[in-house]
Symmetry: C2
Subunit: 160 residues, 2 copies
């Protein structure tokens, strides 16, 4: 296996297993549990799920794949904290948002060659990328895995 | 920058920034807050800190660096859940355990060449490694970053 392919596999395996662990938890939670708070006074499950799905949706343009499908959720789940008074979608809608967005990401992930993973993402300029080649697409997935994992740790507390 | 060096930088940057975020949180928590539970009936801060430090201590032999310094903590923090009735060290001792272990890891991390990062770790045989070259040292750090991040998410709830 080539070096680049090996490294892409390492990073994507870590991403897919963290998403799989999140799905396993989500499938074990009722909508009512999801509406609860991870801990007293902390984020609700639906806010965290909407936040994670919006982060993934925004990865679609960031990685140069396609436009965001749900940009109207950015305001609720990325620009605002939980309990901001904004009306949140139902738990079922958020489950669909999460699953659809991950399916799109997976389709695009599988279509990239190893060397395409090492191209710059869309929020870094060509000049900056020449100096900082670690700011590539794969690095976005690396950082997003850490972010997802942090909130997954919190969402585990929704399970009674 | 060579391909391998670039990968190593990407993974280590992600590790160091997650450790730095953990240190920032730990420095903002009093020992009393650390003795509290992340959420009602969940793991205490000192259990989580001991668990994370023991996982890092065990990385020392796993990555072929040196023996564990605190193997007697494995039973409390790796083989037993929290609230098992086992006597836990004081918060201050666990802070020292965490800091000392991370300093050792950092020293060893900095001494490895890029190609040494892609050598097998000590719990995979030569035969298996020939078939599964992703089971290298760097992949251990990748997985441990996700693990650390998950518990960091929970420990953030210790902060009032």
């Amino acid at each position: 296996m080539e070096q680049q392919e090996l490294f892409v596999k390492m990073v994507l395996d870590n991403w897919y297993s963290t998403v799989a662990n999140t799905n396993k938890l989500l499938n074990s939670l009722t909508d009512e549990q999801l509406r609860g708070d991870a801990a007293p006074g902390r984020n609700s499950g639906i806010y965290l799920l909407g936040h994670l799905a919006a982060v993934n949706d925004r990865m679609l343009p960031l990685l140069g794949f396609e436009d965001q499908a749900y940009p109207h959720y950015n305001d609720i789940f990325l620009a605002s904290p939980d309990k901001s008074g904004k009306v949140m979608p139902e738990a079922g809608e958020l489950r669909t948002f999460w699953n659809e967005t991950n399916a799109k990401l997976e389709k695009h992930f599988k279509s990239l060659t190893a060397s395409e993973w090492f191209q710059r993402h869309t929020s870094v300029s060509e000049e900056d990328f020449a100096k900082e080649p670690h700011r590539n697409r794969l690095n976005v997935v690396l950082g997003r895995t850490t972010h997802l994992s942090s909130h997954l740790g919190q969402m585990l507390y929704l399970k009674k």
